[in-house]
Structures are given as structure tokens and as C-alpha cells.
């Protein structure tokens, strides 16, 4: 079972090491981790994708809260959150295939960002599931190189949802 955690932390030295260290020490599996600045200089937000087949998500959240620099941990579910990820991919593209590939890219909202003699590079900012689908479509052409940022997510601001209690804030 996979979960997305949005962890608001103080921007203090070593905070990423503390979070990453906690996961390795406790044997929690991270699928992806993305960290970056927030609306405040003194805060960062870490978006974690956690595989909880071995541990309960409750235990992961409680352990995170024991870190002094962790301010807030939210579990985000697909319904409650906007989840995005950036993928850059270089795919083999013989001149004959180019038009096909570009059309496919359009379908997935990907943009061509580099063109080589026998390759194309796409950038695609989408929901991670869609990135996966796009990658599968490209595979037959030959994926030469690929990188993804790891997902980032923020809670949606739909008041109905909040009131109906579907959003989970784990405290």
C-alpha cells in the first residue's frame, strides 16, 4: 500500500538527513522524495511517497513527528490533493517516426524540448500515473534516458471535502 505524505519542516541544517535517516533506520521504504522551498523562507516541504507493506502509515507518521524539526505531517489521498511530477525523457526518433512521436506527446501534454538527429527529448509535467503511461507508450520507440523529479503534492482547497472529513490530517 502506497501513501503520499506532505511533511512541513523547519529549514534547519540536516533536516533532510534526519528525515531520510529515520526512514532507513526504521526500515521504512521510500519510493520517492522531493524537497523544496515553501511560501516561507524558514520552512521546507518534503513530499514523500511511502510503501507501507511492512509498517503502518500511523507508525511512520508518529516517528516523523518525533523529529524536532518536523512541524506538520499530512497524508494526502488522490481525491484530496493535486499531485504532479516532472519527467524528462530522451527517446529514439528516426526521421520517419518524428511526426508520430510529436503527436503522441501532444496527447500527453508533453513538450518537445530538444531535437537531435536520431532522437527527441520531451518534458512532461503531469500526474505520476500519466507519466508512467506516457513512458509505456514511448518504450517501443526506444527510451534512451529518463529522469523524474519525484512527486510533489498539495492539498486541494475544496471546502465540501474538508467538511465531510474525507481529508485526513494526521496529528
Amino acid at each position: 500500500m502506497h501513501h503520499t505524505l506532505s511533511v512541513l519542516v523547519e529549514n534547519s541544517p540536516g533536516v533532510l538527513a534526519r528525515v531520510a535517516g529515520l526512514f532507513s533506520r526504521r526500515g521504512f521504504n521510500i519510493e520517492s522524495l522531493a524537497v523544496g522551498p515553501t511560501e516561507r523562507d524558514d520552512r521546507s516541504r518534503i513530499t514523500l511517497r511511502v510503501d507501507c507493506s511492512q509498517h503502518s502509515i500511523g507508525q511512520v507518521v508518529k516517528q516523523l513527528y518525533k523529529l524536532i524539526n518536523v512541524l506538520k505531517v499530512n497524508e494526502l489521498t488522490a481525491d484530496d490533493a493535486i499531485e504532479r511530477e516532472l519527467m524528462i525523457v530522451r527517446v529514439t526518433a528516426q526521421p520517419a517516426d518524428r511526426a508520430d512521436l510529436i503527436r503522441l506527446g501532444e496527447v500527453f501534454g508533453a513538450r518537445v524540448c530538444d531535437v537531435g538527429p536520431t532522437s527527441l527529448m520531451f518534458e512532461c509535467l503531469e500526474h505520476p500515473d500519466k507519466l508512467h503511461a506516457f513512458e509505456e507508450i514511448l518504450k517501443p520507440y526506444g527510451v534512451k534516458e529518463l529522469v523524474r523529479t519525484g512527486r510533489v503534492a498539495l492539498r486541494k482547497s475544496t471546502p465540501e471535502r474538508t467538511r465531510s472529513g474525507r481529508m485526513r490530517v494526521l496529528a
Binding site: 519542516v9 523547519e10 541544517p13 540536516g14 538527513a17 534526519r18 535517516g21 529515520l22 533506520r25 503502518s56 500511523g58 507508525q59 508518529k62 516517528q63 513527528y65 518525533k66 523529529l67 524536532i68 524539526n69 518536523v70 512541524l71
Partner: protein
């Protein structure tokens, strides 16, 4: 009925007014210690921490420094002091090897939730990351074994960091906090004042137990037919032993105290079943195993207590009270979780229980208590006094000869530790200090010295193994130079006895690398070479004499008890087995039909 009550959470210790104004970072550290009421600390100087030691000699202050012989000794002494007093222990080391020598005591303090402040020197800021002489990534090394850690990057942060560090170490679930100080910042000058306020938005340690959960717990206890109180070291850390006593007497049900909780509830109390787990009594283990309710108080379902988790107390509902929310549901699912300060939760629960109507309360526990009493009467700890001197006999003599003294016990790790836990009677909190979570050989000698420094007039006795003693025996020099009269009783079986026991039972009697020799070193001569008193007992007839001579000498003292190396600690639940799979001496196996 109300589940809230007026007993406040343990207050943060009041701070002492200290000198302020322009000073070096090093002097500021000493002022911070003074402000926190620290009167003693342990350490060894070295290059990167020299500015601090220079300030120690240069400025007037009220913090005593004890020069130890190995930083591990400093750490365990600070632990011994902290566990005997409930105050924060402070230890100091230089960068690199000074810091790495502190790893063991800090890991030990982390697992046993002991409040420590660990101060380490670091190479100057501009050299950090260059593999400079005696550079180690101290904060990196200590990250997974501290409650929190700091690397000072600006001299002006020193007061805030120490204020936070002490607060974090002593509040909530206590633990060690590291402060690493680059040498240039210790030498830098700034305008010092100690902050009153703390701003730690991510740290909210104290909570009040939820009144509804407290109420459910009271009702569950009332309904239970076979309840047991399962008490852990958290009760000592919370200073909630008086509250525990009142609660236990109000509900009148058997109390099991883990190794870490020995003394939290008087061993001689009629409700006390003492030690559970791997080497616990049959009656304590059977009581837990047959219980329909475990009232868990500051304990954490450690594998040395539970054995195989699935087989542990299979029919019991669990009430789990703890200050640390992460302990709830970690190893065992709690039916009624209560997160909060035990000093608040226990009285609330007592009141809630007593407020229930009498007829609701007496869902009769009589039969259960009779059953437990019968087990206790028929199946006490036993040993046979044949052949060489037995450690159990020595423990009994310590217990009986010193029954009217206020003895603080420390131990090493191994067979002798288990026999100490089985046979000694500890009636008061903070009078049994042992390495539970990490199981650190070498803990006993320095922990005893630290405890004795906290209470110079008490009798402090370290029940040690010969293997353990050799790991930290250099601290006898510390004991003699500061005239610390703790007694180090070596139960000398000439072997790494506990490991030998496992080899005998589970590894086909292949005694691989566990023979030490009981005459190497000669512990009497060794003690004398340190200027300590050295005594030896080889037979039962010697035991009383050496104990009384040691206790009455009021000198640092080593006793070499030559004990049987064949004796094994029983009963025993093999690692990974369920507690119903307990094994025992062949001659003491008549209990099987009574077991559960």
C-alpha cells in the same frame, strides 16, 4: 466524575541567574550549564575542546568537572548520575575519537530514555569537511542515537541551543541531546544572555491523557477478571512512582515490573511479581500470559519481555499508557491507548476507577489473585547450593545483609545482571540502574561512580561480571582520585557467562571464544595497584565478611567473588520463543503441568 486532575506535569527545572555580557563561546557554555543548575559533569579534554577547558580554569563558576579515563566512562557516569537523580547528566569529549568514544553511552541513553547533554568539540569551522586532524562527522554519527543534535554555526546561537537542548533532553520522553562546537566559535566573543523563552514549534512533548480513554480504561479494569499491571521504566522517568503505588493499591491487582522498572514499585510489596520476560519468574510470565487485560504503564513490549509477539498474552486486551505516541501500536496493538504524562494519567485513572460503582468494580478478581499467589508460592526462583559458590547465594547475602541500608545498585550485562534482577530486593525508585535496551557491557563501573557522586553518603554497589568489569575498569582511577567509595562486586566465573550459556543450550556446547580465565587479571592486586581496596571470596564462608568489610571501608573497593561457571540463569524463554516455551533446570521441571 472527572478524569482531569490538578497534578501538573513535571515542571521544567527553574533556571539560575548567571553572569551575562561580553564573553567567549566557551565561557558562555559554562554559564549555560550554570543556568540549567548543572553542578557536575564528566569528560576528557583535547585539541578541539581546549577553549572550553581553558575557560573552566579561567573563569569563576559553580560547575565541577570530573576527569575520567575514557569518554565511555564519562557518558556512563553521566547516565548513572541522571538515573539516580532524575536530573540531566552532562558529559564532554573532544572532536573525532573523543566523540566516537561517546557513541556507546549515548546509544545506551537513547534506548533507555536517559536525559543527557553531550558536548563535543569540533574542528574549526573553516576546516569542516576537509578531513582535518581529528575530524569526524559527529552530528551525522549521532543523529540516529540522539533525541536531537546541534552543530553550532554561529557563536550567538550558543545560549538558545543550550536552552533548547536541556529542554528537549528532560521533557517528554527523555533522551540524549548532542551539541557539537567548532573550536573557532568557542573562542569567539559575543554578548551573552540566557534566554527565558523557547521557540520550538515542532516539539510539543507534554500531553494530557484523553478523559474518554481514561474512562474506558477504568471500565476495562473493572470488567477484567485476570488483569495485570505491566510496568516499565517510563514510570521512573516520569517520576510517577507514588502515583503508581496509589493506583496499584486502589485496583489491587498484580504488578509486573520490567528490568528497567525494578524499584519503581517495591519488590517486597505483596502485589509485586517482579521481573517478566526471558529470565523472569514463572509466576510473572504466567500471569501475563493468562491475563485478560494488560494495564501497560510506561513499558514498550520489548522482545526480551514478550518473546514471540504473536504468542504473548494472547487473550489480553491492552491498555497502553505512554508519553511517546509512537510506542502505541508499535509492537502490540492497544485497545485503549492513553498518551500523556503518567503523573497526570495515573491519578486520573485512579479517580475514574474509584468513581465506578462498587458493584461494577468487583467483577471478582479474587480467584485470579489466588491463582497467581499459588504460582508464586509453588514456583519461586530456585537454585541448588551444591558445588562451587553460586552467584545467587552472593545476591541473597547482599540482599539480606544490607536490607536496612539505602543501597543503589548498578549492574553489568550478562548472567550476573539477571541474577541481580531476580534476587535483589529494591524498594525505592532509582535504586537499580542497569543497561536495559542496549545491554552494554562495561556500564556498571562508571554508572556506579556517577550514582555515588550524586549521593556521596549512600552505599552504591555495582554487581558486575568479570567480562564487563574489564571493559571499563580503568575508571577505578577516577574513583580513587575523587574518592568515590562505590563497591564493584565482580561475580567472577572466568567466562563470558551469558554467551557461554547460549552456546551450551543452543550451539551444541561449542564454547567458541568465551573463556576468559578467572585468575587473569588478579582482581585483588589490580584493585590495590589503583589504590583501591581489593577483597576476595572463594567459598560461602567468605561472603558475609567481604561484603561487610567492603561496605564499612567507605573506600573504592573491588570484590572478586569466585563463582561457579557452570551455573545457568533459569528460567529461560529462548529468544524468539513464546513465553509458554520456558525452559528450566532438569531438577526444577516439575512445574510443567502448572504452566500455561
Amino acid at each position: 466524575m472527572s478524569a482531569t486532575n490538578p497534578i501538573p506535569a513535571r515542571p521544567d527545572t527553574p533556571r539560575v541567574a548567571v553572569r551575562t555580557g561580553s564573553m567567549t563561546g566557551a565561557e558562555a557554555i559554562i554559564r549555560c550549564l550554570e543556568a540549567e543548575g548543572v553542578d557536575i559533569c564528566w569528560g576528557i579534554p583535547g585539541g578541539a575542546i581546549l577553549p572550553l577547558y581553558d575557560a573552566w580554569a579561567r573563569v569563576e563558576h559553580s560547575v565541577r568537572h570530573i576527569l575520567v579515563r575514557h569518554e565511555q566512562g564519562a557518558g556512563h557516569m553521566a547516565q548513572g548520575y541522571a538515573r539516580a537523580t532524575g536530573k540531566v547528566g552532562v558529559c564532554i569529549g573532544t572532536s573525532g575519537p573523543g566523540a566516537t568514544n561517546l557513541v556507546t553511552p549515548v546509544a545506551d541513553a537513547f534506548l533507555d530514555s536517559t536525559p543527557l547533554i553531550v558536548i563535543t568539540g569540533q574542528v574549526p569551522t573553516h576546516l569542516i569537511g576537509s578531513d582535518a586532524f581529528q575530524e569526524a562527522d559527529t552530528t551525522g554519527i549521532f543523529m540516529p542515537i540522539t533525541k536531537h543534535s546541534y552543530l553550532i554555526t554561529d557563536v550567538r546561537d550558543i545560549p538558545r541551543v543550550f536552552r533548547e537542548a536541556f529542554h528537549i533532553a528532560r521533557t517528554g520522553r527523555p533522551g540524549p541531546v548532542l551539541v557539537d562546537i567548532p573550536k573557532d566559535l568557542a573562542n569567539a566573543t559575543f554578548d551573552f544572555s540566557y534566554p527565558e523563552e523557547i521557540d520550538l514549534p515542532g516539539y510539543r512533548p507534554t500531553q494530557t491523557g484523553h478523559p474518554l480513554q481514561v474512562q474506558s480504561a477504568a471500565e476495562a479494569i473493572a470488567r477484567a477478571r485476570r488483569p495485570v499491571l505491566y510496568v516499565g521504566g517510563g514510570v521512573l522517568n516520569a517520576d510517577a512512582c507514588t502515583e503508581l503505588h496509589a493506583f496499584a493499591e486502589a485496583v489491587g491487582i498484580p504488578v509486573v515490573t520490567t528490568l528497567m522498572a525494578k524499584g519503581a514499585f517495591p519488590d517486597s510489596h505483596p502485589l509485586c511479581l517482579g521481573l517478566p520476560g526471558m529470565h523472569g519468574s514463572k509466576f510473572a510470565n504466567w500471569a501475563m500470559n493468562r491475563a485478560d487485560l494488560l494495564v501497560t504503564i510506561g513499558a514498550r513490549f520489548d522482545d526480551r519481555v514478550t518473546g514471540k509477539l504473536d504468542a504473548f498474552a494472547p487473550g489480553a486486551k491492552v491498555i497502553h499508557m505512554d508519553i511517546d505516541p509512537a510506542e502505541i501500536d508499535k509492537n502490540r496493538k492497544a485497545d485503549v491507548p492513553i498518551v500523556g504524562e503518567l503523573r497526570q494519567v495515573l491519578p486520573a485513572l485512579t479517580v475514574a476507577y474509584l468513581d465506578l460503582r462498587a458493584e461494577d468494580r468487583i467483577a471478582s478478581k479474587r480467584e485470579w489473585k489466588d491463582q497467581v499467589e499459588e504460582w508464586r508460592f509453588k514456583h519461586p526462583f530456585r537454585y541448588r547450593r551444591v558445588g562451587p559458590l553460586k552467584t545467587q547465594f552472593v545476591m541473597e547475602r547482599f540482599r539480606d545483609l544490607l536490607a536496612d541500608r539505602d543501597v543503589i545498585w548498578t549492574t553489568g550485562v550478562g548472567q550476573h545482571q539477571m541474577w541481580a534482577a531476580q534476587w535483589l530486593k529494591v524498594e525505592k525508585p532509582r535504586h537499580f540502574i542497569t543497561s536495559g535496551g542496549l545491554g552494554t557491557m562495561g556500564f556498571g563501573v562508571p554508572a556506579a561512580i556517577g550514582a555515588q557522586m550524586a549521593y556521596p553518603d549512600k552505599t552504591v554497589i555495582n554487581i558486575d561480571g568479570d567480562g564487563c568489569f574489564q571493559m571499563t575498569m580503568q575508571e577505578l582511577a577516577t574513583a580513587v582520585s575523587y574518592d568515590v567509595p562505590a563497591i564493584h562486586a565482580i561475580l567472577n566465573n572466568g567466562w563470558l557467562g551469558m554467551v557461554r550459556q547460549w552456546q551450551q543450550l543452543f550451539h551444541g556446547e561449542r564454547y567458541s571464544e568465551t573463556l576468559l580465565r578467572n585468575d587473569l587479571p588478579d582482581y585483588v592486586k589490580l584493585a590495590e595497584s589503583f589504590g583501591a581496596l581489593g577483597l576476595r571470596a572463594e567459598t560461602e564462608a567468605d561472603v558475609d565478611r567481604v561484603i561487610m568489610e567492603a561496605v564499612e571501608s567507605r573506600r573504592p573497593c573491588v570484590i572478586d567473588f569466585r563463582v561457579d561457571h557452570e551455573e545457568k540463569v533459569y528460567p529461560m524463554v529462548p529468544a524468539g520463543a513464546g513465553s509458554s516455551e520456558m525452559i528450566d533446570e532438569p531438577w526444577d521441571n516439575d512445574w510443567v503441568e502448572d504452566g500455561v
